[in-house]
């Protein structure tokens, strides 16, 4: 070390002084490579943006119309002889008059409206039911049962138009397609044209699509996301309530307390593996364990939540451990150095610092669970939930329910093209939820992040 080492003088003569103003070939090549790489990067980003624009654009273009629905304003004469044969305005007795009783009333009202507007048509007055939805009749009946004093009066109803009429206004149904359609005739479309000109047929924002229940296959105009939304909500409550405490506790133990040995290594590897297990596997596990073995009810948000909890746990554990690992060890030393116990150092110092990471991981995990469909197919959380909103709504953790992505899948596979639009509309609602959750993740991160 003390010996001075001789630096050998370079044998070759130093090349004649090169100017730094003219770029040499090597530098040119290097600069070209750099420029090329930048171009590749920009091209990749542009391609990504283009895909995103196409995706969002097509979703919006296909789905936006689902938020509008066609309604017909019809003055309906509520004939007391039909709806209240006993004449005592007792809602319980009036309940014996079913939609079969009400249907002719609405059909007559429709025919009267057509006549009043002076529309000449070859359509038989009895065939006016093609104009409005089957749900419209129930709509009228419900309103009458809720307000018996309306009986005998002429009340103007905003009734749901049939899906064909709705499709005609949304340009999904054309006169060509009607020619092949047994549900509606070109004559009906003429009536719609005239009524539209009079302002009796209008397209309005359709709250029922967001808050209403699903409807049967023949009544797409009535179908809504509301009940599936409730199902998703209950499932998310279960997932949050179980996976956050379990996941965070497991991560804290593994990261801060567990001894480093073969067993913890195996656990670690398996958690990483579980995160990569296809979700349908969790679905079949849920079917076998929760439904067949533990005999929980089928199609219940509780079971769906349990399955999604299993699926979300690895995500939460991995992100929580990463967040804990990113807390500098000097903080732990500092806490132990002043005599804090291991647990005090974790809960007073490490955990608050890891909080933004934990919350972000949890919300990303929840968002993933919210969009998960495959496991729900296996535990029966997909399908038409027969419920009249808001009465008899699937309101609990144990009532059969669906979930938003499952509802979208269900609509997408139905035959009526009117459901196609609703599937896209459902995707918009789901995306709004996902964006909202991500926004919350970012906000929480900002709030808990300590800038000091």
């Amino acid at each position: 070390m003390t010996d001075a080492t001789q630096i050998p003088s370079s044998g070759a003569a130093r090349p004649a002084g090169k100017s730094i103003i003219t770029t040499d070939d090597r530098t040119k090549k290097r600069n070209a490579a750099e420029k090329r790489f930048r171009m590749y990067g920009i091209a990749a980003i542009l391609a990504g943006i283009a895909c995103l624009v196409v995706l969002l654009g097509s979703i919006l273009m296909n789905g936006a119309s689902a938020f509008q629905q066609t309604f017909i304003q019809v003055p309906v004469y509520l004939n007391p002889e039909a709806v209240d044969p006993n004449g005592n305005r007792d809602p319980e007795e009036m309940g014996s008059a079913t939609t079969f009783t009400y249907k002719p009333i609405v059909v007559d009202a429709m025919a009267a409206l057509v006549e009043e507007r002076g529309i000449e048509t070859e359509i038989d007055p009895g065939d006016m039911d093609a104009l409005f939805s089957a749900a419209a009749v129930a709509q009228v009946r419900d309103r009458v049962l809720a307000n018996p004093e309306l009986v005998g009066e002429t009340v103007t109803f905003n009734i749901l138009a049939s899906s064909r009429v709705d499709g005609y206004l949304k340009e999904r149904v054309s006169r060509d397609s009607v020619a092949r359609d047994s549900n509606i005739d070109a004559g009906h479309l003429d009536i719609v044209d005239e009524l539209r000109a009079e302002g009796d047929v209008v397209k309005r924002f359709n709250w029922d699509f967001i808050f209403g229940a699903d409807a049967s296959e023949s009544r797409p105009e009535q179908a809504g996301m509301g009940v599936a939304m409730l199902g998703s909500f209950f499932m998310m409550l279960v997932v949050l309530g179980l996976s956050l405490p379990i996941g965070v506790a497991a991560s804290i133990y593994l990261e801060e307390f567990a001894p480093q040995n073969r067993l913890t290594d195996i656990i670690e590897v398996n958690i990483s593996n579980l995160a990569a297990v296809p979700s349908i596997v969790f679905g079949i596990l849920g079917l076998a364990v929760f439904i067949q073995f533990m005999e929980f009810p089928q199609s219940a948000p509780l079971v769906g939540g349990l399955v999604l909890t299993l699926m979300t746990l690895p995500t939460i554990i991995i992100s929580t451990r990463a967040a804990l690992k990113s807390v500098p060890p000097s903080i732990r030393d500092a806490a132990l150095g002043v005599g804090a116990s291991k647990m005090q150092s974790v809960f007073h110092h490490v955990l608050p610092l890891a909080m933004p990471g934990i919350l972000t991981g949890t919300i990303i995990g929840l968002a993933q669970a919210l969009g998960e469909t495959a496991p729900l197919l296996l535990i029966g959380m997909v399908g038409y939930i027969a419920t009249n909103y808001p009465d008899g709504v699937a309101s609990g953790f144990l009532d059969p329910n669906s979930a938003m992505p499952a509802q979208i899948y269900e609509w997408a596979k139905r035959a009526d093209p009117a459901y196609y639009e609703r599937a896209w509309g459902g995707i918009i609602i789901l995306l709004v939820f996902l964006f909202a959750m991500n926004a919350i993740a970012i906000l929480l991160r900002r709030k808990f992040e300590r800038r000091w």
């Binding site: 150095g337 002043v338 005599g339 000091w452």
Partner: protein
């Protein structure tokens, strides 16, 4: 209470605070500390010097059992503080660390306010009965850390917003707030500029009046400036231990001489 060994020890001093005998530390397969015997005095600054990786920090961390937190570390041997074996099964490391404070190489204030940084230790040890008590403790600690005048107007500002030297003095204040008897300092000035180093060194000299201070340092000048006793470590062995003046002017071991004259290390 004191061991017989104390009187046999080469050190001619008043009170022995820490007594280590046959201490060995293994990190996995690495033998980091080899059979170290040392007696550290009360109200004295003891410096551990030696080249990097010689085990001086490892030995320091034995004294408040911070090595417990490292899975692969294995400590054997006998370390006594006031005659009590710190590795006794009945000893709770938490109580030990309240008695033996530590200041680390890099200033590591909690990401909390200056006040909370200092108040944390007294709070978890239940030293304050009420808010007024706690305020007094915090003020006293900050004064002892020679930082009170600089921070008294912004006690609730974040501790991490201070300069490096201030942060380190805050960490010292935090360490003394729990009323320890021994203060361990692991290269407390290595991340500081000369001015901040000077302030911290002055502070160490002040602290000597009440504590037994053990400081690990890379700087021989610093050891010469602040300490009364010096221990020279090399490759895990304690080569020489004695009065600082003696070590620097008249080292007995040729290795010590090589190190302090700059030929090894």
């Amino acid at each position: 209470m004191y061991d017989n060994r104390a009187s046999e020890s080469a050190v001619t001093a008043d009170d022995i605070k820490i007594e280590a005998k046959g201490v060995n530390v293994h990190y996995g397969t690495t033998h980091a500390i080899k059979d170290v015997d040392v007696s550290i005095l009360d109200k004295t600054v003891t410096a551990f010097i030696g080249p990097s990786g010689c085990g001086k920090s490892t030995f320091l961390r034995c004294i408040n059992r911070m090595n417990d937190t490292i899975d692969v570390a294995r400590v054997t041997g006998d370390i006594r503080i006031d005659g009590e074996d710190i590795n006794d099964a009945r000893v709770d490391p938490v109580q030990l660390r309240a008695k033996v404070g530590m200041v680390f190489q890099k200033p590591n204030p909690f990401p909390k306010s200056i006040y909370d940084n200092v108040a944390y230790g007294p709070k978890i040890h239940g030293l304050a009965k009420n808010k007024g008590d706690l305020d007094d403790i915090v003020e006293r600690a900050l004064r002892r850390g020679a930082i009170w005048d600089e921070v008294k107007d912004r006690l609730h500002a974040p501790g991490t917003g201070l300069s490096g030297g201030q942060q380190q003095r805050l960490c010292i204040a935090r360490a003394v707030a729990t009323e320890p008897e021994v203060l361990l300092m692991d290269e407390p000035c290595s991340a500081l500029d000369p001015i901040a180093t000077g302030q911290v060194e002055e502070l160490i000299d002040e602290l000597r009046r009440d504590y037994s201070v053990v400081i690990v340092t890379h700087s021989m000048q610093q050891a010469a400036r602040v300490s009364q006793k010096t221990a020279f470590f090399h490759l895990g062995n304690l080569i020489e231990y004695g009065d600082t003046d003696e070590i620097f002017t008249n080292p007995k071991d040729p290795k010590t001489e090589s190190y302090i004259t700059g030929r090894i290390g």
